[in-house]
Every structure is written in C-alpha cells, then in structure tokens.
C-alpha cells in the first residue's frame, strides 16, 4: 500500500517486478490514519481473525539504507517468518498496545489539511493545495508521511537538501517515531 498522491509514481516502481501481492494506492492516506503509519517503509501484522498482532513499525525490505537508517532489516524479517511459519508472535496484545503511536487532534487535523490539499490540487488550485499542505506540516512537523510526502508535491527532491534538513530536525527532536524500532542499531560513535 503506497502512501502517494501520485499514482503514476507508484506504478513506475510496482511494475518493475512480477509481484504476487496487490499493490494499493492510498492517495488520501486513509490507511495511514487507520493503522497509525507516520513513516515508510513500515508494516502492521494482521492475523486470520483480522486482529492487529504487531503495530505500525519500521520494516525495511533490505539493508541498502542501513548506513543511514541504522536499521538491520533481517531482525524484522526473522520475526515475521517465525510468526508466519511457526505461529509465534513476538508481542502479546498488551505489548502491541504499549507500542502503538496514538494520534492527538492536531495529528488528525494535519491529515485532514493534507486531504484537502490533495483534492484542491486535483482541481488545479495550486495555491489552495500549497496552503493546506503547509498547514499539515505545521500541525504534524515530525510526521514523515506528511513532511517528506509533501516534498515531491512541492517539487522538492525527497532525497535532497530538504530531506536532510528535515532528517536533522527530526533527529534533534529525539527521532520521534515508531516505539518498537525493530532492528535499530546504536550508531557508531
């Protein structure tokens, strides 16, 4: 499920491989809200009875960004394999609850401003779009799905200067994000 206002950008990535699973496009970040995603890549585990058995948490596909993220992707992969193959969870229900990121009203309002911005942009109202996307950033300044997700919408390189500025601000604020931080390593001193 891609958190992308631009469905063509999703298709460009998702058609490079023959995938065996559906790739959905969440332009309005509806699923991000329902499951509490604030950054990507991240995953939630859902069991056969449609219960959440692991909350939103970092889930790297591989180690290509390990030097930057300090996340060892294999830790999550191994936990996931153990659950799928052996039916063993690493968290019980209280562990899931203890590691959820719960939204406040401003987080919710930020998501709404982003939605309005996307709808206005679809109508060609660029000034309206810009106003609401910036409001979203003001209300949720540490949410990557909003701040970094906005970068391509403003013509900024999401791997460029703005990205490193934001990553710096976020680190200074104590790297607020998914509490589990599975696979996170201490950066070398």
């Amino acid at each position: 499920m891609a958190l992308d206002a631009d469905a063509d950008a999703v298709r460009e990535w998702a058609t490079q491989e023959q995938l065996t699973f559906p790739v959905l496009v969440d332009r309005q970040h509806v699923v991000a809200e329902l499951y509490g995603f604030t950054n990507v890549p991240a995953s939630v585990w859902i069991d056969e009875n449609r219960k959440v058995v692991r909350p939103a948490d970092t889930a790297m596909g591989d180690d290509r960004f390990r030097a930057f993220t300090n996340v060892d992707s294999s830790i999550h992969h191994n936990l996931l394999r153990r659950w799928v193959v052996d039916g063993v969870r690493d968290l019980d229900d209280s562990g899931v609850r203890a590691n959820q990121m719960l939204p406040d009203d401003d987080t919710q309002r930020a998501r709404l401003h982003r939605r309005i911005g996307i709808v206005l942009g679809d109508r060609g109202d660029d000034a309206g779009r810009a106003h609401h996307l910036r409001e979203a950033e003001r209300l949720a300044p540490m949410d990557w799905t909003i701040v970094r997700g906005n970068m391509p919408l403003f013509g900024d390189d999401p791997f460029g200067e703005k990205f490193f500025e934001f990553a710096g601000r976020w680190a200074e604020a104590g790297s607020p994000g998914y509490p589990l931080g599975t696979g996170r390593e201490q950066p070398e001193a």
Binding site: M1, A2, L3, D4, A7, A9, V10, W13, V23, L24, V25, Q28, H29, V30, V31, A32, E33, L34, Y35, G36, F37, V40, P41, A42, S43, V44, W45, I46, E48, R50, K51, V52, A56, A59, L80, V84, D93, V96, R97, Q100, L102, P103, D105, Q108, R109, R111, L112, H113, R115, I116, V119, L120, D125, G128, H132, T145, R148, G149, M151, P152
Partner: protein, 136 residues
C-alpha cells in the same frame, strides 16, 4: 447556496451548503446519504449508534447541518476552508486512539495500480502483512 466538497474518511462528496459563522453548513439530507449520520428525534444517529443532542438548533437550521457542531458532538475533528468551500472530517485523536487500542484491524478498500478495488477483507482467514511504502 453553494456547492461544498466534503471529505469524510478520505471519500469525497459534493453537497449543497453555505458559510455560517466562520464554518460551513451542508444540506442535512445529502450529508446523511454521504456519511450515514442523520439527526433523528432520538439524537444524531448512524446505524445503531445515537448521540444525544441537547441544542438541536445549534446543529441544524433550515435543514442545513453545521459541520463544526457535528464534529464536536460526534467526537470528530473538522477542518473547514470556508473560502474554497471544502471541509474534511476525521475521528478525533481520542476516538482514533480508542479504536487502535481495540486491536481490531479496520477494513478498507483502495484501488490497486490497475484501478481494481481491493479490500483487506478479501484476504480474511489468512495472515496479512500490511506494508506501507512510497515512491518518495
């Protein structure tokens, strides 16, 4: 009367409406059809849930429903752009937090990259990995 765009849980509806005291009011019939919320004698109702409404005239006047008052009563947050005629509603932070704590995985439907609608419930009775990613 003007056309108002209402975004409710990410779905978009076009309703008749007008500005009122710095917020927007929308046609209550269209609002009920779009969101399922309807003002009945017993209160503000959706499916089996009814919320008592003490001051009905603050919510509904001339069959127009005020969105800020609706949000307050229903435990939701509203963002309203009066000048552009757009409003959006979502659960309040508290309401969403309560829902997350139930550990129920809410169903959703989104288009896949070929435009086909896919729901979480299409994969019921199976383990599911919901992976959030992006092009950015």
């Amino acid at each position: 009367m003007a056309q108002i765009t209402l975004i409710d849980n990410g779905s978009t509806y076009e309703l008749d409406g007008s500005p009122v005291d710095g917020s927007l009011a929308v046609d209550a019939v269209g609002f009920a059809r779009s969101t399922g919320w309807e003002l009945k004698p017993e209160g503000l109702c959706r499916e089996e849930v009814c919320i008592p409404v003490r001051d009905r005239s603050a919510l509904l006047q001339d069959s127009m429903l005020r969105l800020d008052e609706f949000a307050r009563l229903a435990g939701r947050v509203a963002v309203v752009d009066v000048a552009r005629g757009v409003a959006a509603l979502a659960d309040s932070g508290g309401r969403r937090s309560e829902a997350l704590a139930t550990l129920d995985a809410p169903d959703f439907t989104l288009p896949d990259i070929h435009g086909k609608q896919v729901s979480l419930s299409d994969f019921d009775r199976r383990k599911r990995l919901l992976l959030a990613w992006s092009s950015w």
